[in-house]
Structure formats: structure tokens, C-alpha cells
Symmetry: C3
Subunit: 277 residues, 3 copies
């Protein structure tokens, strides 16, 4: 792992080629990604997944989540607008995914905001998520198993400050843990990878973090290695953000351009832009 400047100075072509292979498999394989996500994120998540080549399905009814999760290429569970009925379905879907060998991503949105979210996130963490992705306040809270600051659902600390918590959480849960922010960090408790792609507008569009989790899910569906899949999902979204920034007048036109970029992204753009350290 290098520091942010090193990463920014030296795009990693070899890593970029691996990212491109994942993206190509996504586009040809069109994996089914089952999302149980929050109301705010559904639209952008479904559109980002379609743009990148995956086939999203949003479903939360207790009557059908086990069946859909078991048949999916990956499951993504996001607690952004949870309530009792949804939590029941989330737990059932996660169990079904694990039993069927389907990888799944936990996005503990706002786990730092209330004890209720922390309790739900801890229950889900015990169900062997393949990947846990959150912002620094969220991972710091979940890693420490007690609230660690943060205001609402936005982080008040830098991703670097949640590194210890991330590694602890990875070791305890067995999951790959990603802390995303200006620089993203991904760890399995031993290895640590940093990703420096992205743009500041990504913090000004709602549900971009949730969309990162959805893309990581899509990459898991076409990869054998959870750490690589996570890194590749973050790089793809980060490059889309960089491409989008060039044609944006503000956060809303940025969002449109970012989804367009997920669809348009070509081999050379990925290979030349990936900043992994």
C-alpha cells in the first residue's frame, strides 16, 4: 500500500488489466444481482447495475427473498431505510445466500446513527457476509461494536482513521472490509489495498456509497477472489466518477454522466486510469 500521492501519480496498468477482465466478464455474463436496499438507492443502483452489464432484481418480500437470493449471482443488503419487516427479509435472504454459496455484500448505512441500526448490522455481520462496505464512521462503529461518531448517514472522519477498525472487523467477521472515501481501503484482515480513483462530487450525490456496494456485488458474481472483486468494483465506479466530472455542471449532471460512463467505459480508459496501491 502506498500513500495517496503515490497512488495518484502511478496508475497501475497491470491492475487495470485485471479490472478490465472483471468488467468484461460482467458485460458478457450479465449476472443477476439481488438487492435488498433502501428506497433512496433503488433507482440509482438498478440503473448503475444495468449500465455496467448486470441484471438487477429488487425484492424484499419474505415470501420470495430466499428463492431469489439463492438463484442470484450475488446478494446486496443495505440497511439505509430499514424497518422490522425488511429486517426479517434481510436475515432470511442472507442465510439463504450463504447456504447456496452465493456471495453477499453488507452495506451498514448509518450504523453509527442509532442503536437499532447497530443491532441489525451486528446480526447481519454474524451471517458471514462476503464483503462489508461502508464509510469511515460506519466501519469505525461496526469494527468497535459501539458508536464512533458520524452525523446521520455521512461520515465525519477520514477513511484512513477507520483502518484499524476495518482490519479488526475483517478478522472477526471473516469478510473483506472496504472503507470508502476520498481514498478507499480494502482489507481481508491481512492484505490491505488502497484505491485512489473517484471524484469529490461522489459525496454530493445520494446513494453513491450504496451503488459502490451494488457494483462490488456484481463483481463478486463474476470473480473467484473477494478482495479483488471488491477492489475492482471500487475502481470501476471511481473511474466512472472521473470520466463524469469532465462533463458535469453540478452533482445532478454528474450522476447522469457517471451512469453513462459505466456503460461507455473502454479498455484503455480502465487500464490507464486504475489507481490501486
Amino acid at each position: 500500500m502506498s500513500d495517496q500521492d503515490d497512488i495518484a501519480d502511478a496508475p497501475d496498468r497491470q491492475a487495470g488489466e485485471a479490472v478490465w477482465r472483471t468488467l468484461s466478464r460482467l458485460r458478457s455474463g450479465r449476472p443477476l444481482v439481488h438487492c435488498i436496499t433502501n428506497y433512496v438507492a433503488m433507482d440509482i443502483n438498478a440503473n448503475a447495475l444495468l449500465a455496467v452489464g448486470a441484471s438487477p432484481v429488487m425484492a424484499h418480500a419474505a415470501e420470495e427473498v430466499e428463492e431469489i437470493a439463492s438463484a442470484a449471482g450475488a446478494l446486496v443488503i443495505n440497511i439505509g431505510t430499514l424497518d422490522k419487516l425488511w429486517v426479517t427479509s434481510m436475515l432470511a435472504a442472507a442465510k439463504a445466500a450463504v447456504e447456496a454459496g452465493v456471495p453477499w455484500v453488507l452495506d451498514p448505512v448509518g450504523v453509527n446513527a442509532t442503536p437499532y441500526r447497530l443491532e441489525v448490522a451486528k446480526r447481519l455481520t454474524r451471517l458471514q457476509p462476503t464483503v462489508i462496505r461502508g464509510n469511515a464512521s460506519e466501519i469505525a462503529t461496526l469494527g468497535a461494536s459501539s458508536a464512533s461518531g458520524g452525523q446521520g448517514v455521512d461520515s465525519t472522519i477520514e477513511s484512513f482513521d477507520a483502518l484499524d477498525a476495518a482490519q479488526t472487523l475483517a478478522r472477526k467477521s471473516g469478510a473483506v472490509v472496504a472503507v470508502t472515501g476520498a481514498v478507499d481501503y480494502v482489507t481481508n484482515g491481512r492484505d490491505l489495498v488502497a484505491v485512489a480513483n473517484g471524484h469529490e462530487f461522489m459525496a454530493r450525490v445520494t446513494a453513491v456509497g450504496c451503488t459502490l456496494s451494488a457494483l462490488v456485488g456484481a463483481c463478486l458474481a463474476v470473480s473467484d477472489d473477494a478482495l479483488d472483486a471488491t477492489v475492482h468494483g471500487l475502481v470501476i465506479m471511481g473511474i466512472a466518477g472521473e470520466m463524469a466530472a469532465e462533463r458535469s455542471q453540478g452533482p445532478a449532471s454528474f450522476r447522469v454522466a457517471m451512469i453513462d460512463a459505466l456503460y461507455r467505459m473502454e479498455e484503455t480508459q480502465v487500464e490507464e486510469a486504475a489507481r490501486i496501491g
Copy 2:
């Protein structure tokens, strides 16, 4: 009915004039369209309905759906993100619409994906929908009353391959049935109409199928003939897609341009572009 090439070669000016009359009635009449639809589709459906001239209302509470459905120009029921509480409201709203003589559209999203959806869709089908619109996998499943392939909520077969199922379903249910895809087919069990308008990006934007159902609902509210109204709704949306493709860099800018086009569409554009066979 002609095959796809014939339709594409020969826009039908007379049919286009009828489509334009429907669109004009929509814009002047501003019919109330009550949607009980999925979380992913709500935003794009409401915006598409407003852009085309209708007045959308989203409401799902058991306490009020009968009243709203009875007073509406049309009701649209979409099972994309159903659960038990919503199903209760869907059934009540459909019954109220039929009793009040309000036309209603059933969109059986993902009916091929789980037995739960199939059971719900069958119960709704027995409540005399005016129109049933789905992709090929959905109509094939509902027409056969047993799962017929498809992955998640996207179709794995061509619309042409669901023609027999569509005609069977139309005869059994009494509804006009529309199978939409690269070419759309609309049948009342006797007559069969094909629509060749549209653009491939429409499959890369989430909830475009749901929006087709919503627009068909809007057209039903200002038409006497359910077959014509269905065809007109599909043509209007297809032309909007064609107009949008000219100013798009990817699926997200396409979506924006498609809704703009529903608002901007002029008489000559409709009359010269309608491809009905």
C-alpha cells in the same frame, strides 16, 4: 401484422394521426392515473406521466386506494416490489376500479421469477384487468400459468416467442395483452398489432417497462378502445426513445432525454415515426 422489417420500412401515417389524437387528448385532459407500483419505478413513472400530460398519483394505503382508484381515469398495478400489505391494497384497488368502470393495467413484473409472484399475478388477472403488459418471459409464464424461463425481472426470450401465450392469456382473461421487446405485440385474442418503435437503450434503463404500462394507463383514460389505447401508449414511448437516442451518451442521459421527448413530441414527429403493422 407485418414482420419487423416491413414495419420499420413503412411508418403508418394514418395510424400516426390516431396516436397524435390520443396524445392531444392526454395533454388537454390531464387524466388522473393512479399507480400502485414498485419502488424503483415510482420516480420515472410519475415524471413520464407528468411529461406526457397526465396527473399521476401514487398511493398504496388500504385506507384510501379504493377511493382513489374509483375516482381516477385509470389504475396501473405493478408487482415489481410487492409484499403482503401491498398485495392487499392491489386487490382492493383493482376491484374498486372494475366496479367504478375505471380501466386498469396489470404489469406482472418478474412473474416468472417466483411462485409467490405467479400466485399474486393470477389473483389479479382474475379481477378483469383491461390490459396486461409484460416482457416475453412474463407473458409466457402468465399465459401458461407456469414458470417459463427468464432471469430475475429481465426476459430471456424474444417477444415473438410469447405470441401464443399472449393470445391464450387474452382469450382467457378478457384483457388486451401486450408483449413488449424489440418489437411489441398487442392482441385482444383475435386481432394482433405489432409496434416497431423504440431503441435498444430502453432495455438499459430500469423501469422502462413499468413506464410503458403507466403510459398505456394514461391512454386508456382518454380512449374508448383498449387495443388502440395500448398500441398508442407503446408508440408514444417508442418514439420518445427514438428521439432520445439522438441526444444521448449512455443510458442515463437517454432516460433524461426520453422524458424530455414525451413533453416535446410534436404532431409531425408522431405522424412520421409511428411504426404499426
Copy 3:
């Protein structure tokens, strides 16, 4: 209060400077705005709040709404897609906000459409909202405590025609009441302010009224005066609409440009464009 033409002819620089100070406080303070809002409005509300500088949190679970509302800078409750479970949370959140001294906004969407909505809105009105914002049909209904026309969730009367109802409602409830439309009127039961900013496309994009309520909430979080905060929220959104109209091809590109404008808006634009009378 002047009539619409006077306001339009004479932007008020002094008032504009006060609006700019509110916007600056928003951008630097990043207040947490807790929204319990309808499914259609969530995406645009969260994005508009982020663009203008606030930190939105959407949460509706009974297990956590009191805690989140108490800690927020403002609470916004919108009954656009209500049902029984959500109403329980809305009532609890409003009570918690009042107890904690957190200002809150009531948006009685479609209160004119059904007795159920009217009953819910009346219960919420009794919980001391700081501001009530609605269209003319909604305020006329809530002010009269009986349905007063309107079709679905769109108004069928002009904002001016709801002025008496607004003043009655303000006096009875103790809230500042805003009736928005081509011209917006804001009253505390004694003073009356008119705002003439905005663009006709704002009626062609879903949930713009809801977004006005969310922005008013954000302004309340950084202001001492509820009347001023309400006026400033309406002016900011209205100017964003005017800026957006210059770069739009229809309602969807207008929506994108309007959110961009909330982010881009500069001091001179606010000071030169504010039309308050």
C-alpha cells in the same frame, strides 16, 4: 405584499442578501435534515439537500425515528405515500422533535384527495409544526378542515385563492403556512410575504413541492426566524428553477439542471434574482 407583476419587476436586493446569508450558513453548517417522506420524493429530496449543502437522512422505523429527529437540525414530514406503519412513525418523530426543540415542516400532500389523508394531516397539525407547506388545494382543505377540491395530488386552484385558508390555518396551528404555486405566499397569520421566483417546469417534475418543503427544513435548521427561513427556502429553489430553465430541453433535463443550480448558485445570482414582496 405586492401583486405578481410588481414582484417580478422589482427584485429585492436587501432581501436577496438575507437569502444569501441563509444559503451560506447552510453550506458551511451542513445541518442534518431528517426526512420522513414519500417514496417518489426521496431521491430528489436527498439530492437537492446534498446539493444545497445539507446532510439528509431518510429514516422511518419506529425503533429509531425519535432518536434521529431529536438529534437533527430539522425534521420534514411528508404524507405523500403514507400507510399505517409510517403514520405511527410520523407522529412519534414529530413529538420527539417538538420536545427536543427541533423545528419541523409538515407537507400535507394530497390532503384534499381522501378523508384518510385529511385525518392524518389534522393529527400532525396538532403536534405544533413550525411550518406547513402545501399547494393551494391542500392548504385550502387543511385550513377549512374539509376537502376543497383538487384532483389527486395536483392543485386545481391558484395559490391566491387559498390565502384566507392559509391565514386561518396559521392562526389556529401556530405554524408559518406557505402556499406555493406560480406565486408563493407565506404567512404567520399576521404578516404575509409573496415570492415570485420559479418556473412553470417546476409543476412538470414530480416531487418539486416536496423538495420545497425539504429545503425549507434545511433553512429552518440554520435560522432563528421561521417566516424568513420559509421565504428563503422558497426563493432558493425558485432561483434554481430559473437558472435551470435556461439550460433545459424539457422537464427531465430541467430537474437535473435545477439540482446542479442549487450547488452552483452564487451570491450575485441570489441577490439579483430574489423576488420577494
